[in-house]
Structure formats: structure tokens, C-alpha cells
Amino acid sequence: MNGVHDMGGMHGFGPVEPEANEPVFHAPWEGRVLAIRRALGAWRKWNIDAGRHSIETLPPADYLRMSYYEKWLASAIKLALGAGLITQHELETGQRDPSVPVATPPLTADKVMPAILKGGPTHRETTARPRFEPGEAVRAQNINPKGHTRLPRYVRGRQGTIERDHGAHVFPDSNSKFEGENPQYLYTVRFAARELWGEAANPDDAVYLDLWEEYLDVA
């Protein structure tokens, strides 16, 4: 979707403001939100791509106003409601529906570090041959899907060069809609800064993106 989250190349957000000696969490609730969202993820009612899409579909003004963990909180609630893990009534009253049996959490304390160390790899074996090879010129498609996509607006229609082949990876556009993993080749594509931003850019500078085969055409 052409959302406000797709902000590469935008102006007007002011300078970057690093914070000296920044803590991991600025308040305990931030850590709780991170942990709640990941613990709910252990129910496997959604995937990482659907999770990202739930943040992208926050109202644009809210997206820009909210902090990272405020967005995670809103997303956790949205995902849990959507998956039927909780109901709107339970959320509003803070009381569980007594007619629903108490569940057993899939993620217990002893499983936290193993789950972190395992993660969720997205590489998949495939018998398909890669369509492109390193060094080949490609053009990012000029597409405007309404759903989740990882093809940012600032490279659509632009020409680049295949830098590296990462094998087949889960395709977020379909996975986010629970329409299957549709694994396909993922490539690092190099775009010259001048191709993206014009002649004012340094001729040697470049931006590299990881793009799925379906996003690319032969240049």
C-alpha cells in the first residue's frame, strides 16, 4: 500500500536526533509491550508480514504521532482482536469472558531464549531456477498494490543491477494476506543514487534493496 510508512526520500521530518546513553526501554511499559506482542505471536495466528501490515494500516496521522512501542501496542490489540484471541467487550471491561475456557500459553519462560535464538527463518528450498543473475540490469516494476508490499515507492520504475542472489524467501505480499508463502528468489539490487535522486547525488553513491523476483523485470 502507498502508506505513510513508506517514507524513503520524504522531506520535512527534521534532523536526526541521537540520544546519549539511550536506555533499551524508556519506561517499563515499552518492554511489556514488546514481550506481549511477541508472546501473542507464539499462538501463530498471524505471521510477521501480517504483523507489519497491521502497523502500516494504522490511520496515517496516528502512525506519525505514535512512538514505536505505542504502534506495537495498537498493533498487538488489533491482531489479537482480529484473530479472536480477545473480544472488544473483554478489552473494554478488562474482564475475560467466563464462557471461554482459560488457555495454556504456548510461550513459557524456559522457552523464551530458545525461541529467540531460533527466530523465524524465511529462506525456503526451491527447485526453480533464478530468473536473474548478479550483474544483470533489472527494473523495479511500477506497481501500486493496495495490500502489504516491500517494494518502496522510491525505487518503482527505476533501473538497478542485481548484486546478490539470496535464494528463495517467503513472499510478504501473499503471506501477509494468509494466501501462502509463495517463496521466490530474493535479490539484493543496487540502485545508483543518481538513478533515484537525480544529478545532484554523488556519482559513486548507491542504495541497495532486497527485492523479490516478482517485483523485477529485465531492464
Binding site: G14, G31, A39, L91, L117
Partner: protein, 208 residues
Amino acid sequence: MAKQHDHSHDHDHDRDNHLSETVLRVKALETLLVSKGLVDPAALDAMVDAYETKIGPRNGARVVVKAWTDPAYKARLMKDATAAIAELGYSGAQGEHMVVVENTPAVHNLVVCTLCSCYPWPVLGLPPVWYKSSAYRSRAVIDPRGVLQEFGLTVPDDVAVRVWDSTAEIRYLVLPERPAGTEDMSVEALEELVTRDTMIGTAKVAAP
């Protein structure tokens, strides 16, 4: 919390009220989820503890210094970063597929995620607020040299700037240049020099 541009007392007061409301909402949500058996509060404690005490930029610094001091390790790291980083015990969530990009006298690398805030958690921990900010995400790709200036880093025109926009599940770690005059330093002392920002690309490793 992101630094606010408006430091007026009224504004801060509103922000505090808003924050206490958020604190209450999070508490209420956790209580509900625990009562329904959906989450285990001890698992939440363990998750917070993992990212506060176990998983952070010291991990990445160990990778960098090993690459500086062990040429065979560096070769493995550049060929298959995921496997080489796992040799040191770091793997998993938000670092399932790692790539290391090397700074040289001719190339400076910078990592961003314009679409969300993807970041190599196993080696750097959770991202700082500025990395997740709209300012960084919007400008790192169009004006990397200007962004680096805001970090106090001027990259000469004859050094190429390569920006890595983390649009898939590949996560990037910058291998910074080892400064001159560090030949006799211990591994531990070298690790102290390698800051988080040097592995994102917004700083160079300072000579001791």
C-alpha cells in the same frame, strides 16, 4: 520516548497524562491476557530481561573484533555471516539471515529500514529511537551524507556511500575499519572501541 520538539511545560504535562494512560492500558491488557491464559507473565519477564541484559551491541562488537583479529573468521563472516555470527552464539529473531558489509578507505556503508525499523537484533539488540524515527528513515536514502553530518561524520566526496535499505528479512551489520594505532590492544580493549553506531554506519571507530 522520542525527544519532543516542544519543551513547554503544558506540552510535557499533556505528554505525561497521555503516558500514564498508556501505562494503564498496557497493565490492563497484560492482566486480561494473563487471566485468559494467553500469555505467561514469567515469559514476558524473561523476554524483557533477554533484551535488557543479554542481547545488545556488545555481541556485535565481539563479531567485529574477531573479524579484525582473525583473518580466517573474517573470510567466513564475509562469505556466510549468519553461520559465522552463530559460531559466537548469536542467532535468531531479526537476524535469521545476516549479511556483513565492510567499510574501507573507498566505501562507507550505512544501514536503514525505510518501511519499518528492521535492525539486526541478535548482534545489536533493539534499535535506538533515532533509528526508528521518521527523520532517519526518510532521509538516510536520499541524503545519507547530510544525515551522517548530523552524527558529526563527514564522508569525503571520493568515498562512496552505500546505503542498505532492509526491505526483506536480510539484516545488515557494518564491519567498521580498524583504526590505526590499535595493533597492540587486547581483544577486550578493542571491543570497548566498537560502539553500536559504528556497526550501523553512523560513526567510525575512534582511535584510542
